[in-house]
């Protein structure tokens, strides 16, 4: 049998990647194969603990939950034939702390502190989607400045989140210098976030009805200085990584996924865009003021790990573009809605107005009531569609608060991308999915 593409015997031309057709073809079978191929290992922990059958040709091995490349506490049960991965089962729940249940016992004002801890690499997005869902129920319209501050914070957070990905992706593949570089840029971004919100992470800055505070003096200069430093650094990354043969060999053609498979599995964000499917909620179902800014949606063409890396790298450029427009177009005015029932009065008013004192006291003790009903809000987080479904029974706490975490759904693509690859490829694939376990387990 000869390889139909290169007309060479199998195995002969493997190392020579510059010859012959280089296009990747979609995996045979498409969506139907997802149900038939058996990439997903469906075996309980009790079954896995049983002594192995003697004549079995395959081995069950656990990777994680304490494996350094599993980004926290992801555990993969791998069925191996030698070093080839046959079937995979992601075992999750090690970080489950019942945040959705907790959310039912916190008021809408306190809810932000809860949800911000879910996806700890992009806390602003969690707060934002929670507030958007609540505001949909309340039916309040935000002042333009609040919307633009939110957009600025979200894009700044996207930068730090993507730099974290670039750092950990490099680390997982053995590029320690990339790790240090990515972390350096991320820390600079976090310092900027800290100067605005007061905290590096878990900000609770976006509140129902606006934001917690206005932007501090001199934010334009600091942000501009940060943005000015980025293009040169990104060029450095590209010099370091993109043309490096080890980097390309470890990522190109590893973990290939087609658009129809990604859609069937509910994958969103860079995983879906890497397949060449241009879908970005910021452009396609705009929220905040994304209609008024100019940016491009980055898509890949092969759906492999390299595309997922390149998309995130280039999304940093697009986010910088949005941030520059935020500096330019930031409107003047209120940073939160002037609705006494939702927004606490400013500190100075409490000393002079009895009514302000009462409102302040009521908002912080019993919270504000939200009309009965249900709402689903969705935004484009760095990892994909982040959704929030809130059911209200008319009281000051949500009756049900559900977060649709993109990492949780994206994890389902792992068994399919790892099927037939090596364990070392698995590390590259986990890294390119960029799961945040706090959001997976909630």
């Amino acid at each position: 049998m000869t390889d139909p593409v290169t007309q060479a015997p199998p195995g002969a031309g493997v190392a020579i990647t510059s010859e012959g057709a280089q296009e990747m073809e979609p995996r045979a079978g498409g969506v139907e194969a997802l149900r038939e191929m058996g990439s997903v290992l469906r075996m309980s922990e009790a079954e896995a603990a049983l002594p192995a059958v003697e004549e079995s040709e395959t081995t069950i091995m656990n990777m994680g939950p304490q494996h350094p490349s599993t980004h926290g506490v992801l555990r993969l049960m791998l069925e191996l034939d030698g070093e080839t991965v046959l079937r995979t089962k992601p075992v999750i729940g090690y970080l489950h702390t019942g945040m959705e249940k907790t959310g039912e016992n916190l008021t809408y004002l306190q809810g932000g502190t809860n949800v911000t801890r879910m996806d700890y690499a992009s806390p602003i997005f969690n707060e934002l989607v929670f507030c958007l869902a609540t505001e949909k129920l309340l039916g309040i319209e935000l002042p333009p400045r609040a919307t633009w501050i939110r957009m600025l914070m979200a894009e700044l957070n996207r930068l730090t989140s993507h730099f974290l990905f670039l750092a950990t992706n490099g680390m997982d593949l053995g590029s320690t210098s990339m790790m240090i570089y990515g972390w350096r840029e991320r820390e600079e971004g976090l310092r900027l976030l800290e100067s605005i919100t007061g905290l590096r992470m878990n900000h609770n800055f976006i509140r129902v009805g606006g934001t917690a505070a206005d932007l501090p003096d001199g934010w334009q200069e600091r942000l501009t200085a940060y943005l000015d430093s980025i293009p040169q650094r990104l060029d450095e990354y590209e010099d370091l990584m993109n043309n490096q043969p080890i980097w390309r060999d470890r990522l190109q053609g590893v973990g290939v996924m087609g658009a129809d498979e990604a859609i069937a599995l509910g994958a969103t964000g860079p995983i879906l865009r890497a397949t060449g499917y241009a879908w970005d909620l910021r452009r396609d179902m705009p929220y905040l003021a994304y209609d008024d800014v100019d940016f491009d949606v980055i898509v890949g063409s092969y759906g492999d790990s390299y595309d997922r890396y390149a998309i995130r790298l280039n999304e940093v450029r697009e986010s910088s573009k949005i941030l520059r427009q935020c500096i330019e177009h930031m409107p003047e005015g209120d940073y939160r809605v002037q609705d006494k029932k939702v927004t606490p009065p400013p500190r100075a008013r409490i000393d002079e107005s009895m009514e302000a004192l009462i409102h302040h006291f009521k908002i912080f003790t019993e919270g504000f009531k939200v009309p009965e009903g249900e709402a689903y809000a969705a935004i484009e987080s760095p990892r994909g569609e982040l959704g929030c479904y809130i059911v209200s029974d008319g009281s000051a706490t949500p009756y049900r608060m559900h977060i649709r975490g993109p990492s949780f759904v994206n994890l389902q693509t792992l068994p399919h991308m790892m099927h037939g690859g090596l364990i070392a490829d698995g590390v590259a694939i986990i890294s390119s999915v960029d799961p945040i376990m706090g959001e997976v387990d909630r």
């Binding site: 729940g93 509910g266 759904v409 389902q412």
Partner: protein
């Protein structure tokens, strides 16, 4: 103050037949289209939606209405204790649609959407884990977030928060 009788009048008018899509009642809630199929209809409705271009099942979740039984539902929909809520998205039409299915407490079973949308596997496992709603035809209906030997379904409203017993010496008995 308005006269209470005046407020009642609109309700007494003969209501127009509820709008339906693929045989399921449709309502628009805060600008979002919501379908209310029965348990028997749900697979056919979701298949029809998929043929309409709603290719991606974004989210499947559950709600336990134990302590809130008098919620607003369209005409002809009998409220049950549980609701399974699924969100679908059409990329071409840039539209979302939500499907809400009533699931009774006595028989919490629903056909699985796995055959239509393989991506619902983990989401349905989560609903099973958290609410105890079983999905017929699911390939691997086991707990996903809680440990395998866990008892109870934490997001049910009759499952109290903080059930792990904590002992303090010389402390008065629990409330």
């Amino acid at each position: 103050m308005t006269d209470p009788e005046v407020e009642i009048t609109p309700d007494e008018e003969p209501a127009p037949a509820p709008e339906t899509l693929h045989g399921a009642v449709v309502a628009t809630i805060r600008g979002e289209r919501v379908l209310f199929p029965t348990r028997e209809q749900v697979v056919d409705v979701v298949r029809a939606l998929r043929d309409d271009g709603f290719l991606m099942c974004v989210d499947v979740t559950g709600v336990d209405y134990l302590t809130n039984p008098h919620r607003v539902l369209p005409e002809g929909i009998e409220p049950e204790r549980f609701e399974v809520v699924a969100n679908f998205i059409s990329h071409t039409a840039r539209e979302r649609v939500r499907v809400r299915v009533q699931v009774p407490e006595s028989d919490p079973v629903l056909p699985s959407l796995f055959e239509l949308h393989p991506g619902t596997e983990a989401l349905e496992r989560e609903v099973f884990d958290m609410f105890g709603i079983r999905f017929e035809g699911h390939p691997d209906l086991t707990r996903i977030l809680m440990p395998e030997d866990w008892h109870g379904h934490p997001l049910r409203k009759d499952y109290a928060v903080g059930q792990i017993p904590v002992q303090f010496k010389d402390a008065p008995a629990a409330r």
